[in-house]
């Protein structure tokens, strides 16, 4: 199902034309209206006039979270405060929060892209949409709300929390579309069962789940528990909120609304673009946003771009499900690996929640990874050969999954450092600047 088939299936060449025109306008606007951007451009010795084709975007400096914190609260606004009609904010776990300002036209666009998302999940004006994302400074609740209103569906602005009431509402109102974080959906299924309500008897037909990282296994679980179609939605406050990308019924990657957002994937170390299909850091540029144009924002999210034609007919490029955060990524011998891959390997071999630490060194010129794994009670044997076997199995499985040969060392339980209940997963001892 399409919200706006003409644009969602637009001819690719035409799309690039629109993108280029909008990119030029946005860059010019950012340069003229935002002193912080002007300074960055001048320092990098680029001018908006240097942008002649889409590839020229690479001349533009990146914007980071740190940049946004520096200009707190309103330093990235390109419109006068009188034109800003709404504010959202991302909670900064470290340092100052990030503020996003929206003009009336930004809110319009937000509703438009969210309407596309919800329609992709099968929402029509006959549906009842329960918004169980938080309403408030967080963008989740309002974003879905604006999209559902554009469609004309009946909105239940439940916000997050009060789980038993959420479930009663679902049952009594006959909610058909659920929007919340995937972990909250699973929690709701559990609570429903506690209340004696079998989740599959609810009228839910689809859900838009996002705002956190999740896996295919979780999708299968949610779909089974509720008997619905679970879709992956992506977005972030710095760009607009939810509504940057969403899965179509193929569920093979999230279509990015390229008429509003320009998508790049870069090597997080070098900043150079990686080729399509290769994983790297997602970088987004807004193409239509007035209140707060965002140029080459480094999301820290790891994904890859899929440009093959999608069976649904949409021409917008897709990104694969978010695979991790650059903060968690380790690059070893040129290969990107993530703690979750190691975790998966250990879990498969040991069968219990793993405690591990990844230590990277560079003894000569080659990176070495050592994975310290806490011996579990379940797998401990008092024979050396069994322990050696376990060690080899772990090494083999980790190599299968990451493609990197590692050395596994078994250590005593609780011997790895933990802070606030969470273990420090990566210790990088490489000195790369000597």
């Amino acid at each position: 199902m399409f919200w706006d088939k003409d644009i969602e299936c637009i001819d690719e060449e035409k799309l690039r034309e629109i993108q280029l025109e909008r990119l030029k306008t946005t860059i010019k606007r950012a340069y003229e209206k935002i002193p912080y951007y002007r300074k960055k451009f001048d320092e990098a010795q680029v001018s908006p006039d240097d942008i002649k084709k889409l590839e020229d975007i690479r001349k533009i400096p990146f914007t980071s979270k740190a940049d946004l914190r520096e200009v707190y609260p309103f330093g990235m606004f390109a419109s006068p405060l009188s034109e800003i009609v709404e504010i959202h904010m991302s909670s900064g776990t470290t340092g100052r929060p990030i503020v996003a300002g929206y003009t009336l036209s930004d809110i319009e666009i937000w509703g438009e892209v969210m309407a596309r998302c919800l329609t992709m999940a099968g929402t029509t004006k006959n549906d009842i949409v329960q918004v169980a994302y938080g309403y408030g400074l967080f963008t989740g609740g309002f974003g879905v709300h604006y999209g559902a209103r554009k469609i004309g569906a009946m909105i239940v602005p439940a916000s997050a929390g009060n789980t038993r009431r959420q479930i009663e509402i679902m049952r009594d109102f006959g909610t058909t579309i659920l929007a919340c974080t995937p972990s909250y959906a699973l929690y709701m299924a559990e609570v429903a069962q506690e209340m004696g309500i079998e989740p599959t008897t609810l009228k839910l037909k689809a859900g838009c789940f996002g705002a956190e990282m999740w896996t295919e296994a979780m999708r299968t679980e949610i779909e089974k528990r509720f008997n619905l179609n679970a879709y992956n939605i992506y977005g972030l406050t710095e760009i607009i909120g939810p509504g940057v990308a969403h899965e179509c019924s193929e569920k093979k990657g999230l279509h990015v609304f390229e008429d509003h957002f320009f998508v790049e994937v870069i090597d997080p170390d070098t900043g150079d673009p990686v080729s399509d299909g290769q994983r790297g850091e997602l970088v987004l540029t807004t193409l239509t946003r007035q209140g707060m144009p965002m140029l080459r924002f480094r999301t820290r999210d790891i994904t890859s771009i899929i440009r093959d034609k999608c069976a649904c007919g949409r021409t917008f490029a897709r990104i694969e499900r978010i695979r991790g955060r650059t903060d968690d990524m380790i690059k070893v011998r040129g290969v990107m690996i993530f703690p979750y891959q190691i975790e998966k390997a250990i879990l498969e071999v040991q069968g219990v929640e793993p405690h591990y630490q990844i230590i990277i060194t560079r003894p000569q010129h080659l990176d070495e990874i050592e994975v310290m794994v806490e011996m579990s009670k379940e797998t401990f044997s008092d024979e050396v050969k069994h322990i050696e076997n376990l060690r080899r199995k772990l090494e083999k499985r980790i190599e299968d999954i990451t493609g990197i040969r590692v050395k596994v060392t078994l250590v005593e339980p609780k011997s790895l450092p933990r802070s606030e209940g969470k273990a420090k997963r990566i210790v990088d001892k490489r000195s790369l600047h000597d």
Binding site: M375, F380, D382, E383, V411, P413, S415
Partner: protein, 143 residues
């Protein structure tokens, strides 16, 4: 005829053996036999103690990975060839030994040896048929 042995996983780290033994000492648990299998990275401490269940509990409370394993304790003549003679029976029966170590104390003319093989039941019957004395748990405590 099976004896409970306490096995402890040890990292090759300063003080770990001491800490394990100290924990047992503080709880008044006596060690009758002990051995350590070590590799370059870890060690396995194997012990016969007076109260294996309690020892396991104490060590686990102290964050050690512990396992109780069945072993055999056999008495061999304390003279040249005493142990070799006993092992010959197992060799002839094609039984592989996983590990073997001796008791701290000796009982009279006999030396006591702890043994784990790939097949304990078969080992017990072969040794008994060959008139090798196997120790019961009471025998071990009386040592």
């Amino acid at each position: 005829m099976k004896i409970k042995q306490l096995s402890v996983f040890l990292e090759n780290k300063r003080g770990r053996l001491y800490e394990a033994l100290k924990a047992l000492a503080d709880s008044n648990i006596n060690i009758r036999a002990l051995s350590i299998a070590d590799t370059s990275e870890f060690g396995i401490l194997r012990m016969i103690v007076t109260d294996p269940e309690k020892a396991k509990e104490i060590l686990e409370k102290n964050e050690f990975t512990v396992k109780l394993t069945n072993v055999i304790a056999m008495a061999v003549k304390d003279k040249p060839g005493g142990l070799a003679e006993a092992l010959k029976y197992l060799y002839d029966a094609n039984i592989n030994i996983e590990y073997i170590y001796a008791f701290v104390e000796k009982s009279g003319e006999k030396a006591v040896v702890v043994l784990r093989t790939e097949n304990l039941d078969k080992t017990i019957s072969i040794l008994q048929e060959s008139n090798i004395k196997l120790l019961t748990w009471d025998d071990v405590l009386a040592l």
